[in-house]
Amino acid sequence: MNAVPWRLRLQNRGLDGVTLLVLPAVGFIVALFVYPFLYGLFLSFAPMQGPWFANYKKFFGDPFLYDTILTTLWIAVPATLVNLLVSIPVAMRVRLMAHPRLLTTILVIPITLGTVLVAEGLLNYLGPRGWLNRALIFFAVTDSPTRLVHNYWGVFLSLVITGFPFTFLLIQSYVTGIDPSLERAGAMLGARAPARFFRIVLPLLVPGLVITLSLSFVQAFSVFPSAVLLGAPAGPTRVISIAAYQAAFEQYDYSMASAIAMIMAVVQVAIVVALLGARGLVYRGPATGGKG
């Protein structure tokens, strides 16, 4: 018999004592993510009254509830796209700077402030008596205050401001991952700046854009504080998280709230899966030009 000891065979498959270090993380994920998720899933199928699917039937039978999906998408999708489209040129420029640290720091500050502080700030700044409106009236751009809070635009602007740093940091890492010699090679072959961007940089950036889009979208889709503080939570900015909140803490129907949370998850997952699926259609290899 020359059987290889089981310990060595496990080692060959990359399993040894060190593998046990994964256990705390697994425990953490199970306790804080898997278990609550499954609990919520079961809870959503145990309605306070009616058959097991009653919550879902209620949600999709009541426009006041199912419209929140569209409302949320209507805020989250444009905000995500704006962040993405602004981040790309900024990241392209920052890449060329000798000392990008200061600018990056300034751009990233909003992420450290938290959504509530930003919402309060915007409330003061954009409100009818805020600096912006006072300045607009002073310079006679308008003669009455422009309404920018407690409506769609308040939530939209708040999402743009709090979401931008996150989007920008991700995009910046993808942009700097593209070998600068590729653009130089393009220039040497006669490509002007627009052709260099659209023919060389953009195709290599697409996979990163998709990941960024997915993550930024998920963040924007779960908007809650700014929708309440800066929006019109009873109407135009009644997002899906508000519906879940009301079910849980105003009607004390945890089962219904769980169902709404599950629907929210399904919408997010569906969009992320669609985006990642589309990513499969383009080049996904390394963004470098060869050895070196």
Binding site: D179, S181, L182, R184, A185, G186, A187, M188, L189, G190, A191, R192, A195, R199, I200, P203, L204, V282, Y283, G285, P286, A287, T288, G289, G290, K291, G292
Partner: protein, 343 residues
């Protein structure tokens, strides 16, 4: 093409100082120098990827140093090849033609020609990541030359290849250059590459041109001692020289060695330079030394010996010498270069 006193500063650092050079049509020029000598800076200035801080560049009678790189129409082969990873080999080569708005049928004809020239017909539909380093190098060359540029710039194109491929590609580059008739400027730090490829070699050091000459001139008679050091004169001695009659002697290893003067001056402080190839054990050799190490290099042995007066000497021998053995080393007077006045 003519470079007229071009300079480039990075802050206080003068990467390139007052470089002038005229390149003939179809000429192969090598820019040779150690790393940091400004050779890549010079190439990037020519390409337009760096702007000049002084001087001008002329192509025939047209001033081009104010043009953007995409308007100059030169071909460039990058050190890391810089192939577009998301495009197939054929699309990579077609890129420059597409940018010029060449008709589709014309593009496919010329891409096929270029692929045949670099012998990569079979790899046309592969992505750069799927072919070997040597093949990537050929694609980079094909991509640079397919647009028919008047000048091709190569930035250490062989430095990422292994030794055998490097020799193959060297022959390949020379063959392609001969077929096309465009001028080529080739940056390298490898003197063998420069000697074997170039019609003329420009030796750069500290951003200045040290010598311009044919490979034969540079090999036999480097104009200064630092060029000599770079051209493989591994034995460099700061010493003094003396004239006896019409002959010049340098003091090396405690002995007087007959040599050839490069430059003016007769006696006094000087630098003497000898290639290890030319320094061999001879019964009447003037320099007495003791062997410290010896290594086999195929046909010959190369060794290090220490002279009685302490200098290290790199020499060649046809027979294995034992460590510690006493030898007398000498070199033909024509191969001992003496730079009087240098120190």
């Amino acid at each position: 093409m003519r470079l007229d006193g071009i300079s480039r500063d990075f802050g206080l650092l003068n990467a390139l100082r007052n470089v002038s050079l005229t390149v003939g049509r179809g000429e192969f020029i090598a820019l040779l120098g150690p790393s940091g000598c400004g050779k890549s800076t010079a190439l990037n200035c020519l390409a337009g990827l760096l702007t000049l801080t002084g001087g001008s560049i002329w192509l025939d009678d047209r001033r081009i140093d104010t043009l953007a790189p995409e308007a100059r129409g030169f071909g460039m082969v990058f050190q890391n090849y810089a192939l577009f990873p998301h495009l197939t080999v054929a699309r990579n080569i077609a890129f420059g033609l597409e940018m010029q708005g060449v008709a589709r049928s014309e593009i496919s004809r010329r891409v096929a020609e270029a692929l045949a020239l670099v012998r990569l017909e079979a790899q046309a539909e592969k992505l750069p990541g799927q072919i070997s380093g040597g093949q990537q190098q050929r694609v980079a060359i094909a991509r640079a030359i397919v647009v028919g540029p008047p000048l091709v710039l190569m930035d250490e194109p062989l430095s990422n290849l292994d030794a055998k491929l490097r020799l193959e590609m060297r022959t390949e580059i020379r063959r392609i250059h001969g077929l096309l008739g465009c001028s080529t400027i080739y940056v390298t730090h490898d003197q063998d590459e420069a000697l074997s490829l170039a019609d003329r070699i420009v030796v750069l050091r500290d951003g200045e041109v040290r010598q311009i000459g044919t490979p034969e001139e540079l090999y036999a008679r480097p104009a200064t001692s630092d060029v000599a050091e770079f051209m493989g004169f591994r034995n460099i001695f700061s010493t003094s020289c003396e004239a006896v009659g019409n002959d010049l002697f340098a003091r090396i290893g405690g002995a007087l060695v007959a040599g050839t003067s490069v430059g003016q001056g007769r006696a006094g402080p000087a630098i003497a330079a000898i290639r290890p190839d030319d320094l061999t054990p001879q019964p009447e050799g003037p320099i007495a030394a003791r062997v410290e190490a010896i290594e086999y290099r195929g046909r010959d042995f190369f060794g290090v010996a220490r002279a009685v007066s302490g200098e290290e000497l790199y020499f060649r021998t046809e027979h294995r010498a034992g460590v510690g053995e006493a030898v007398r080393l000498g070199a033909p007077p024509g191969r001992v270069l003496i730079y009087p006045g240098a120190a």
